[in-house]
Symmetry: C2
Subunit: 238 residues, 2 copies
């Protein structure tokens, strides 16, 4: 008996390795069309997100891209939620983790977080799925383990490191989501407008008005590394 999507999902939650079913196909092969597989679904899903954003990723959209009906997907995927989780999994799987170097733990953490951000931004809005996704996913846990190892090698106490990993992960995800929502370069384009709006505020906003330049300065990447450094600075000052 080959596994139902539900079984695959619970298996995924526990081990991460999947029986795979390799080329074994049963069912109609209408014409020369490629058979639908989970990997094929994920490929087209990533393609859609990269092109049109995560909001445009619907079951129907994926189905029509595969030249089929929506119901055909439910033989391979439990849910939209399940699809999202699979996407995040594969996205995290492409993050390569360095061998922990006690002397360079700071740079290593920043590098991993930066790579994570990069991946999230390549697929605009997908970080929303990362926020909702259960943290028990194996691939998600893998990058967690990687960051954890780096912090431990850096001499951070286990309890502190454990919570820091969560905090860093959460911040990276939230930052990426915010950047995706605002629209990336749309931020830079609307900076002048934002500035004038801040300076045009009532008198009850003295600091916001005076430091409008500081408030609107910097690229999203600048702000990202700033906050990362903020947290890392807080880590080694016991």
């Amino acid at each position: 008996m080959s596994p139902t999507p539900e079984q695959r999902r619970t298996a995924r939650r526990q081990f991460g390795a999947v029986p795979a079913d390799a080329g074994l196909r049963r069912g109609p092969s209408r014409g020369a069309k490629k058979p639908i597989t989970v990997d094929l679904i994920l490929d087209t899903a990533f393609d859609i997100v990269a092109r049109e954003g995560f909001e445009a990723l619907t079951m129907r959209r994926v189905a029509t891209a595969l030249e089929t009906g929506p119901s055909s997907l439910y033989a391979h995927v439990v849910n939209k939620e399940d699809l999202d989780e699979l996407l995040i999994g594969r996205l995290c799987a492409e993050i390569d983790l360095p061998e922990p170097d006690p002397a360079a733990w700071r740079e290593q953490i920043i590098s991993v977080c930066g790579r994570l951000r990069e991946q999230y931004l390549r697929f605009p809005g997908i970080s929303r799925a990362a926020l909702a996704s259960a943290p028990t996913n194996t691939d998600t846990l893998r990058v967690g383990e990687g960051m954890f190892a780096i912090l431990l090698a850096g001499g951070i106490e286990p309890q502190t490191a454990a919570w820091a990993v969560d905090a860093l992960n959460l911040y990276v995800t939230a930052h990426s989501l915010e950047v995706s929502l605002v629209g990336g370069d749309g931020w830079v384009a609307g900076r002048d407008e934002l500035m004038s709006r801040l300076t045009g505020l009532p008198d009850s906003f003295p600091n916001t008005r005076r430091y409008a330049a500081e408030l609107t300065s910097g690229s999203t990447a600048d702000r990202f590394t700033f906050t990362l450094n903020l947290m890392l600075d807080g880590l080694n000052r016991p």
Copy 2:
């Protein structure tokens, strides 16, 4: 001419004060039903979110709670997005900001962030709207100004303080959203299960397995103040 919802929205984005139209009513008053106003809509919306979560907040749900059709709302509100923004606005308006005290800037920041978290968690999932909402909302900017003032009084450099306000706001929102999604006390209930899942991981997760206790320890509030302190520690070490 009384303003259309669009006009109210743009007015709101710029000033925040609204002409109000006070009891002036034109239109059918079927029976003794209360006339629909923006405030009434917001009241019932908050009620729904508090009871059933942000996911359950739909236009139709609000309309039926008001014993009317969905289209009746669009005379007072531009969008669902606009409704969300209004909710966040009113939520932020209930945050009272302390007079900046240079000696207690740390405690003051933590207090404001804690109050913000409290408000977000009272209405589960509403922080999602805060993430999407444009940061040009007057009420949102008000608490930004408040936190900014506290940091400046604490001697933080303007540029650093400006970016820190954004980082803190983003973290508070993301944390609240995560807590809402996981389900609050559901976290505590599933801790044992999570622990056993972590310890049951493959050998490629040595640190996660060894420190599973540390990883799953602490309440959400503990982790919240931990991360806040992390960022604040990073602030005053130039």
